[in-house]
Symmetry: C2
Subunit: 217 residues, 2 copies
């Protein structure tokens, strides 16, 4: 696998995309616009459905050479041969995920506060975790059980201490992407800023441009 | 692992048992009374909680030498070293489960009708599936999304064509256990007939005795 490009990270939402076919279409549109990593997150789906959709995504994304990361379900990722998994603080531990997925896989971890970021340092040092998702930046409807919003400033504080690449997540839009880039984000992770948009490819391109404008400034 | 004793199969319910400690107590009580296999089923829990509880169950059950089976979550089973998994028709496929768990693990599959039983024949033949859970015998509150009840007669029809050991599940009680034994069940799987009972060990003993009375008759 080529080095991961975290600059634009798409998290697919089944409802916003209108089901599996919409998810594949949205993923391809985002990949065309330069998304470097795509996550399949379907917390309300049974595993057979996630595996089926994941297999379709893997084949649709193969020409782009970008990784598909499965949220939470390490077993689904292993069964379908996805490149990675993303775990939260209440999912299987990152250590377990790494042990099961092997050294070549991509393992991401969600962190929402300073203690979680500090705890991640050891996990990164021992090779369990490749990147962190830090958020939510602001309150978000696509993850009702998310932690308290950090704001740009809170994100910047955590990102300043990062032990590995970090992506900002949770209410990320073209509007705040430049500020997040300046705040130390190696990328921006979005759900509703791409999923369900009229032209997901154009939305993805705008987001990437917005992020890059912050990096350049 | 010694040969599996399917005669009394306990499925642990977090709510009826009053949480993880109650689940461990209930499992040990049932094991003392002769339960030969125990399943951890917590569809509403995050995986970290299932893994934590599963590890406690494994250590509590080790002296009894009986297998712990994890419902749905192959990754949790692998992470904690559980002896098996149980998958439903919408979970990861039994083939995927077998491939991930390896040849030494126990893999169970839920079937609710004749087409599913017929489809399981090939899975058993190729070594993917070790046993079937056939049900629900009657409507059950502990699994609101269960298929239509089979009745004893419907269970008997499916059991007559069984390609491997089968346990009856779904509203199984001491009252219908003898009839299920006569109908071809290699064991009875219960949730509320043990979990949440005042004396789970006595309840388990009664169930096993009831099942055995059907076998002997």
């Amino acid at each position: 696998m080529k080095p991961i490009d975290y600059r634009l990270y798409l998290v697919l939402d089944p409802n916003l995309c209108g089901g599996p076919q919409g998810m594949v279409r949205t993923a391809v549109a985002a990949a065309r616009a330069g998304a470097g990593i795509i996550q399949l997150r379907a917390p309300d789906w049974k595993k057979r459905a996630i595996a089926d959709c994941g297999r379709e995504l893997l084949s649709a994304l193969a020409p782009f050479g970008i990784p598909l990361v499965i949220d939470d379900h390490v077993d689904v990722a292993m069964a379908i041969g996805a490149q990675g998994v993303h775990v939260g603080q209440k999912d299987l531990s990152a250590r377990d995920a790494r042990r099961l997925m092997g050294p070549g896989a991509l393992v991401g971890l969600s962190v929402s506060n300073a203690p979680e970021l500090e705890a991640s340092r050891q996990l990164v040092a021992e090779g369990a975790v490749d990147y962190l998702g830090i958020g939510p930046v602001a309150a978000t409807r696509t993850k009702p059980d998310a932690a308290s919003p950090l704001g740009i400033e809170g994100f910047a504080k955590l990102a300043a201490a990062k032990p590995c690449p970090v992506v900002a997540i949770g209410s990320v839009k073209a509007g705040n992407a430049p500020a997040l880039a300046r705040a130390g984000a190696d990328g921006v992770a979005v759900v509703s800023a791409i999923c369900g948009q009229k032209d997901p490819e154009a939305s993805a391109a705008s987001l990437l441009a917005a992020y890059l404008s912050g990096i350049a400034s």
